[in-house]
């Protein structure tokens, strides 16, 4: 894999020259259809790095934990936007992060793949837009395009928006309407929307995988952990769960890059982008802002315009 070879080569060079302390990338997972984040500090270990359709995590979340170190990070389009936005929010110094940008054709949803084939997958092989999955006595060939994560299907930034090194040829950007589902939902009657909302968050365990997977949940004290004042309880009361998700999404207004890491981390398969996508659409339409594209633009809720739309009577 060309891209993989380039990532490894660059990582080796950066570590040997001590340009960085650590390279954050992906390595082979312990299950088929999975890669796992890797933290490489030794230039002799760069062959652990891989690149495939299962590099689903947003590695930018780890930048919050490695402040002060010089870090190289393997970044897809969405991840690179996270890096820009974290620098705008002054959580990282741009000069401390070396972005190994990787043009991305989207990551594959392992849960949907498993559901579609019906058997336990023991090995998977990708080539030329196809995925061949096998169990002990069964095999199926799938079309990659049918199993992209929802966030990848509506992605308009497959190529990294910033990079210090580009590990591959740029890919064609899609002209997809990323807010098509939001628009469709907006046209439904209110009661139907309320029922969907209630049902969507019914299975939430309050495990906070969504929070921890997101690069922008870096608050030292999350509002759910506050006891003075105690905003919501920690149990499973439906209104507490609903408010947890409403407020979490709201806290990401103008900060979410729609990488989908929250949705992929959730063990219960909750449609977490349902709320954040609405906020992304409103932020774009009301304030002309898209997260992580322009390092010189302030996030929308840190600023204002005299011409802002006015709902106040």
């Amino acid at each position: 894999m060309e891209v993989e070879a380039k990532i490894r080569e660059k990582a080796k060079e950066l570590l040997e020259s001590k340009a960085v302390d650590v390279v954050i990338g992906f390595e082979k997972g312990t299950l088929p259809l999975r890669s796992t984040p890797a933290f490489i500090r030794d230039s002799s270990e760069t062959d652990r790095l891989v690149w495939n359709s299962f590099c689903e995590n947003n590695l930018a979340t780890y930048l919050n934990k490695l402040k002060g170190q010089k870090v190289a990070i393997v970044a897809k389009g969405c991840d690179s936007r996270s890096v820009v936005a974290l620098a705008v929010e002054r959580q990282i110094k741009r000069e401390d992060v070396f972005v190994i940008g990787v043009p991305c054709r989207g990551m594959l949803d392992r849960r949907r793949i498993e559901e579609a084939v019906g058997f336990e997958i023991l090995s998977a092989l990708e080539s030329d837009g196809k995925l061949v999955v096998k169990s002990v006595d069964s095999e199926r060939t799938l079309d990659r395009e049918d199993f992209l994560f929802p966030s990848c299907r509506s992605c308009r930034h497959r190529n990294p928006v910033i990079y210090d090194f580009l590990a591959g040829e740029k890919v064609e950007e899609s002209e997809v309407d990323e807010f098509e589902l939001v628009r469709e939902f907006e046209s439904k009657p209110p009661e139907e929307r309320w029922e969907y909302f209630k049902k969507a968050f019914e299975d939430c365990l309050r495990c906070y995988a969504c929070r921890e997977a997101c690069p922008f949940c870096y608050c030292e004290e999350c509002f759910v952990d506050s006891s003075r004042p105690k905003w919501i309880e920690k149990g499973l009361d439906e209104t507490d769960v609903q408010i947890w998700h409403i407020v979490r999404a709201y806290h990401h207004a103008g900060r979410c890059v729609d990488c989908g890491a929250c949705e992929r981390a959730c063990p219960m398969g909750i449609d977490l982008r349902f709320l954040t996508q609405k906020l992304n659409k409103d932020v774009k339409e009301l304030f002309g802002f898209e997260t992580g594209l322009d390092p010189s633009v302030q996030p929308p809720l840190s600023t204002f315009s005299l011409q802002d739309p006015d709902d106040f009577k």
């Binding site: 312990t30 979340t61 780890y62 299975d203 495990c207 921890e212 920690k234 149990g235 063990p267």
Partner: protein, 337 residues
């Protein structure tokens, strides 16, 4: 005794159970998740599953439990009768059954019995079901006397032998299940069941050799091993909440002025608040200390205190960890040091 239930007659059998017990069985919910849930009709049961997303521990140790309610001058404790109904856990996997025995070590001891847990536990009959086709994430055979057909802790046991189930009673409670009208299992049935069992046990071959584990862990508190291990951990609570043996909890008062209730909620050693002290100091500030604690607790301290590992090899943490931090790989790493 060993009896046969034709699969075509299984719904009838469940019907008779429903008239005698509150039945908790695997169900596929509207969002496609297989979860244990209280059923009101046999049609709700879903048996084409490897294991449920959430472990059934929540029916003995609920995620949210009201300990008591209070207002000025009055305290109202939930009545024991309210949680003492006859219950049946149906088609629970052997790993989850074993987890109840592990939870017993914590909540049902000689010196102390947690009334909320113990009342439920003592009123629950367990009809377990063997795993005919264990997934590759399972490693139950690692633990003493455990396996996809381990009967430990069950009152009765179901084996799927094709168009029928073999049901075997194991305890007095098991004997009291409504089985009189069922035909006895033939020698052939028994043999088929044994063959199915043998195949399943062979399949769970990711068996770790744990005899030296305690010794290794004892010397490892300051080891650099933890430095490499922890970095990708997100410190979310997925592994702890989906683990059948994790049992940490937080007690919280939900109150409005002077009226309220005290609740017990599940808590996770991975959460930032778990060891946060009032001074602001946190002895486990990062994922390193928390991962170390998780491994030490489950595989060293718990074993030393109770003689059993706080892990049943169900593989839920392996399957669901958002960053594929695989506990089997961690243990293999420790054992190879």
């Amino acid at each position: 005794m060993k009896k046969i239930i034709e699969k075509a007659k299984f719904a009838d059998f469940v019907g008779t159970l429903l008239s005698d017990y509150e039945v908790f069985a695997p169900v596929k919910n509207e969002n496609g998740l297989v979860l244990f849930s209280r059923i009101s009709s046999p049609e709700e049961i879903f048996l084409d599953f490897r294991n449920s997303k959430k472990p059934p521990k929540e029916f003995l140790f609920p995620q949210v439990e009201t300990l008591f309610e209070y207002e000025p001058g009055k305290v109202k404790v939930p009545s024991v009768e309210a949680i003492a109904q006859r219950r049946l856990f149906l088609c629970v996997r052997p790993c989850d059954v074993k987890s109840f025995l592990i939870l017993d070590e914590v909540f049902d001891t000689e010196e102390f019995q947690d009334v909320y847990y113990v009342t439920r536990r003592r009123n629950t009959t367990i009809l377990a079901m063997g795993c005919v086709d264990p997934p590759s994430t399972c490693f139950c055979t690692t633990f003493d006397e455990m396996g996809p057909f381990s009967r430990e802790g069950a009152d009765a046991f179901l084996v799927d032998i094709g168009d029928r189930f073999l049901i075997e009673t194991l305890t007095e409670r098991g004997e009291s299940l409504p089985l009189e009208s069922l035909p006895d299992a033939s020698d052939e049935d028994v043999q088929t069941a044994e063959d199915v069992e043998k195949k399943a046990v062979e399949k769970v071959d990711r068996k770790l050799e744990l005899s030296k584990l305690g010794e290794k862990l004892d010397g490892m508190f300051e080891s650099p091993f933890w430095d490499a291990l922890h970095e990708k951990c997100l410190t979310c609570g997925v592994c702890t909440y989906l683990c059948p043996t994790c049992h940490c909890f937080d007690i919280s008062d939900e109150a409005l002025d002077s009226k309220g209730r005290r609740v017990r909620n599940w808590d996770s050693c991975m959460f930032p608040l778990f060891t946060l002290q009032a001074s602001g100091h946190n002895p486990r500030p990062t994922s390193k200390e928390r991962m170390r604690q998780r491994i030490m607790h489950k595989f060293n301290y718990f074993y030393k205190n109770y003689g059993v590992y706080a892990c049943v090899g169900c593989g839920r943490c392996v399957e669901n960890c958002p960053v594929n931090l695989d506990i089997r790989k961690v243990l293999e790493g420790i054992l190879s040091l």
